[in-house]
Amino acid sequence: MRRRDFLKASTLGASLPLLKGCDDLEEDFLVQPAVRPGVLAGESIWHPSICTQCPAGCGIQVRTVDGDAKKIEGNPSHPASLGGVCALGHSALQELYNPDRILDPQRRTGNTGDREFEAISWEQALSEIVGLIGSVSPINMAFIGSEPRGLTAGLLKRMCDSLGASPPAFLEPPEYGVERQASALSLGIRSIPYFDIARSDYVLSIGSPLLDRWHNPVHYSRAVAEMRRGRPGRRGKLVQAEARMSLTSANSDLWLPIIPGTEGFFARAVAGVLLSENLVGDAGRRQYELLFPAPPPTLGTVAEQCGILPEKIERVAHEIAEAEHRVVVAGGSVAAHTNGLFNTVAGLGLNLLLENLGQPGGVFAPATFDLAKHLSPPESFTTSMADLASRIRGESGEPIELLFVVDADPLHELPGGWDLASGFQDIPNIVVLSSFLDDTSYHADLILPLNTGLERFNAVEPESPIGIPVLGIASAAVDPLGSGQHPGDVLLAVAQSIAEDLLEDFPWPNFEGMVRSLINEEIENLPGGRSADGSSYYRDALARGGVFEAGNPALTPPGPDGESPREEQAYFDGEEALFPFLLMPFASLKIAHGRGANRPWLQELPDPISTIMWNNWVEVSPSDAADNKLSDGDWLRLQSPNGSMELQVVIDPAVRPGTVGVPLGSGHQDYGRYAKERGSNPMNLIGNLLVDGTSEAAWAATRVRIERVGPGEIARFGKSYEQRGEGENIPVGWAPHETDQEG
């Protein structure tokens, strides 16, 4: 008998009147069960589960006691995380128990944005949605999802296809789209490549925040540790070329604080040294010239442009050429300048020159089981967020009469210059699937609650590849609070309610049934699946936390598929004379792009570099602070061509003069008591520039001016730059302007 069945049986028949007056029963009596119920009262049970806090899809274990989730740790069997879990993953408990969760479907009763809702039943909600879909022409519908790959995305694409609506748009960090495009051009793969850092001897990271919040911080943090300390007698080296001192820069062996927007030229200069000094082979040279037929610019010109000494560039080129296993990683903010595609292609292209493709410690194509191909073709078309934003504003395409948003918060995460909020006011019907009343869902007419990751059956093929195929599968770790559902279950229920002829396209009873069916279909191709019994294979996968391939990455990218875009200089929103500072937003290690902002644990957690807690801030260099008479903690107004906001100053000697850094993720208009109106959202300062050659937002291409508003005190764990006396130890992060930790 399963524990849950036992408990149900125990409960059944015990009527409430019977319990009246029995408050002391548990105090006075002990139950000795007839047979073992599965667990003892108070016993800890660890359930394998999947972290849903970011697209990395790490495997986790949830410690439950008496059915309640108490603690989250990593699942050592899961190859994406190997037992690790980040702060955001730990905080999933506070998503589960968050007092501001939406537990039942909600219908708007007041005006849009008034936050007035009434609870309704699922039957009523589904009936209203079916009515809406029936009354709106498919060409006037629009759909937004959260992650472009995976089973839920596959279901959403299938639903749009079945309805005859335009393909969904997916909200993800805009640089991911640029990175995919750059990867297609330079490596011939249409997804984000895997960088085999753990087996590398030399990692040149061009802007990639490997140890911050990038594709899989847990996996890459471990890989960097393995590279340095996992092979006795062989220590790898990490070189970080990035404008601001991120956690990755702070932990690098050599930090090159490059001028923002010049990263592609830096990569070309490294190529120039490798080519001119014949440090590379003919095969690599030929491949590289397919991507860049023109010779690289001269070292002197580039060095001045990038703000990096030519000797440093030469040294990096020599060192990487000498390393046995080496890799060049490119992405993050370098992909978010207007010339982001060139920057990223130039960085990834160095792997061609160095013949790193498919080599141990090099770069690999992502491997995947791709169960979602049974739901929609792998390369099926999606709508770009920029195109959808234009439709929402009424500037192009068919007007939107029904907008369906699945587990995404575009009004918080997209640039303020896109002006989505005013467009939302004109959409007559907005349906949002969300666990919280966030910046987007409070514009909704109907909110369908989602359960949280710990309460749901889930199957996730991580969007962030790790070089070997991974399919995380897990049953619910705890019973659900409220009536929220998995987004896949909601989509299935909606599709099946619309019309009987759609049942053929969506024949599965629920999301889990769909996953089981897809696994049965693919079982011959899954590891250990040949001639396996479907039921026991599935049961074992649930107990383990998924289906994983073993071994090292093996898929070699085919090579360049076209020429690089032109070597253009980056340009910025705002005239330099009026807006002299370059704004560098960055994803917060703690709260990511905003998802973690409603967790007190994460708000209270000091930022690893600045040690600031609870709010976001603006990082200013000491020289700029002196010029503008700023003290640490002062309130500062940041003004861009698109808007203004006030933040507190953190004076940071590791900020390049002329730039200011602001963490993303704060400044929600709603999202519960811990996040609402806490800090400011730097995306509101960003205009509508796109990365050239793509449809992605150029969020690192905005200039601002600064103006002191008044004094203030900032909550931080450590001392400020000003409080730190001469001779005091300098913690990581408070480093000189350029570090060389070897030296």
């Binding site: 409960t11 059944l12 029995c22 029963l25 548990e26 002990l30 000795q32 047979v35 073992r36 009262a41």
Partner: protein, 176 residues
């Protein structure tokens, strides 16, 4: 021994256990106004088991690893008694009958910490610190049914032991 009071929104395991107790009492023909002198369900003999070298933790498996010492399922008892250890003893027949009917045995607790005291007693840290079972429970190995020998609900008794053994006497160590 006390089950933890629960504060979560959804029905807790404890509440469900109460429901189970009620169900069992109903099945026994008892009302829920339990008389104070309700006898234990069987005349279990600790002394008989200790003479057979059965340690405390063989049955109370949670004593060293969990908050609560716990009781084994009746099926565990049956695993010995069904295989020829006094299978026809009247007390054995009583619980074998319960097992047959898949009904639990309901035991009256001997050592009770009132919930009003808000004490979270945890066996594991005490066992880890080397506190012998008999320190709090008396020499149960010489008892038939367990009897209360020490007033464990007396905070002064707890505190003096904590002081003697240099354990924490911070209020929040036990009261939370």
């Amino acid at each position: 021994m006390k089950l933890r009071p629960k504060r979560s929104k959804r029905p807790s395991c404890t509440v469900r256990n109460i429901a189970g107790v009620s169900l069992a009492l109903m099945a026994m023909g008892c009302s829920t106004d339990v008389p104070e002198d309700l006898a234990q369900p069987i005349a279990f003999s600790h002394i008989a088991h200790s003479e057979d070298d059965i340690s405390c933790t063989r049955c109370h498996q949670g004593a060293e690893t969990q908050d609560q010492a716990g009781l084994p399922p009746i099926s565990s008892c049956a695993s010995c008694h069904r295989r020829g250890v006094i299978p026809d003893h009247p007390e054995v027949l009583k619980f074998m009958e319960k097992l047959e009917e898949r009904q639990p045995l309901i035991w009256r607790k001997v050592n009770v910490l009132p919930s009003s005291a808000m004490v979270h007693f945890r066996h594991k840290p005490h066992a880890r610190a080397g506190v012998d079972c008999s320190t709090c429970h008396g020499d149960v190995s010489q008892m038939g049914l367990a009897q209360k020998e020490i007033d464990t609900a007396n905070m002064g008794w707890c505190v003096s032991c904590h002081r003697e053994n240099e354990a924490s006497v911070d209020c929040l160590t036990c009261h939370y």
